[in-house]
């Protein structure tokens, strides 16, 4: 039997500080900055850099460490889900009610399988969530020069004002999508 600490949801006051430790840790071991979205650029540079200045650089030298970090996160996700088990996500009763109103009824698993699944992909809401949403994540993080880890955690902990602007943008966009777009889409 695995100890409960491994199988249960980790509370914010355990997970948050652990995540924060990665910033000084990466700085200490190799003068690296935590940031995941750069990997999208490195992968584009590796796969299809044709005639685009933004993608012409030494992706191996610049991003090799980070691509390995990202590959590692996949392993971590696999271990987290397969070996340690998942429980139904204990979201608040208010959110459960909001999602029922939205038309999302199956609240089990990590994602709503009515929408985020291979079957869901064939529906309009699933296609927009997965394909359009994914495109906007890639376009927006490249445009803003970072994502939640790069701007919110790395940037704000370094007191970078532009990261604060970016994080305001993240939340403005998230609120627009959640409160205006999802009711139209779902």
């Amino acid at each position: 039997m695995l100890p409960e600490a491994l199988t249960h949801t980790w509370p914010w006051y355990v997970a948050g500080p652990l995540i924060g430790l990665f910033v000084p840790l990466l700085q200490l071991v190799g003068d690296k900055q935590l940031g995941i979205s750069g990997n999208l650029r490195h992968l584009c540079s590796a796969i299809l850099p044709t005639r685009i200045d933004f993608l012409k650089y030494d992706w191996r030298g610049t991003g090799g460490w980070n691509l390995l970090f990202a590959l590692g996160t996949l392993i971590g996700g696999w271990v987290g889900v397969s070996l340690l088990g998942t429980r139904e996500i204990a979201i608040s009763p208010e959110t459960q009610a909001s999602l029922h109103n939205l038309g999302v009824h199956d609240l089990s698993g990590l994602v709503p399988r009515e929408v985020i699944s291979w079957e869901g992909l064939l529906s309009i809401r699933g296609f927009v969530s997965i394909v359009v949403g994914g495109f906007l994540v890639g376009f927006g993080t490249a445009y803003a020069g970072g994502c939640t880890s790069g701007h919110a955690i790395s940037g704000l902990s370094n007191f970078q004002l532009r990261s604060l602007f970016a994080v305001f943008g993240f939340f403005a966009g998230g609120l627009i999508a959640t409160h205006l777009l999802l009711p139209l889409l779902f």
Binding site: L28, G77, Y143, I153, S154
Partner: protein, 142 residues
């Protein structure tokens, strides 16, 4: 130590990072909805305490890092920062995608590892998005 850290070490650090985000349910679409509806403290607690610990850690290291943008090959140039439009506009575009997919780039990768295989499509879409940004970069306000 700076240049001695083995590349495979980053793989292990990434695995730990992915495990933490999974066990804290940061990779869950439901948690992101809860956050954008202000219906629980969970995600705010995680992001807030992560920033606090990161800031303290940086201070203890007493080595202020050069300002960076995610994935920039070299030191930050003036042209990279521009007039600041990119942070508002790009940030808002990303935010819309974050709420639609229920995943920012870290969880996008982690969910694939965690068995939500359809997220491979979202990753490919994200790559197309980043590539398209590169194509249009000179024509966008920065």
């Amino acid at each position: 130590m700076t240049n001695r850290f083995p590349l495979l070490g980053y793989l292990l650090l990434g695995a730990a990072f992915g495990l933490i985000l999974t066990k804290a349910e940061v990779i869950s679409w439901f948690r992101i909805q809860e956050m954008f509806r202000f219906q629980a403290f969970h995600m705010y607690g995680i992001i807030g305490s992560a920033i606090a610990v990161a800031a303290i850690g940086r201070r203890l290291l007493k080595r202020p890092p050069a300002p960076t943008l995610c994935g920039e090959p070299g030191p930050l140039q003036d042209e990279d920062t521009g007039r600041g439009y990119r942070f508002w506009i790009g940030g808002t575009i990303f935010g819309i995608g974050w709420a639609l997919t229920g995943a920012c780039p870290g969880p996008l990768f982690i969910l694939v590892g965690g068995g939500v295989s359809v997220m491979v499509i979202a990753v490919l879409s994200a790559l197309a998005g980043t590539w398209t940004y590169g194509l249009l970069r000179s024509r966008l306000p920065h």
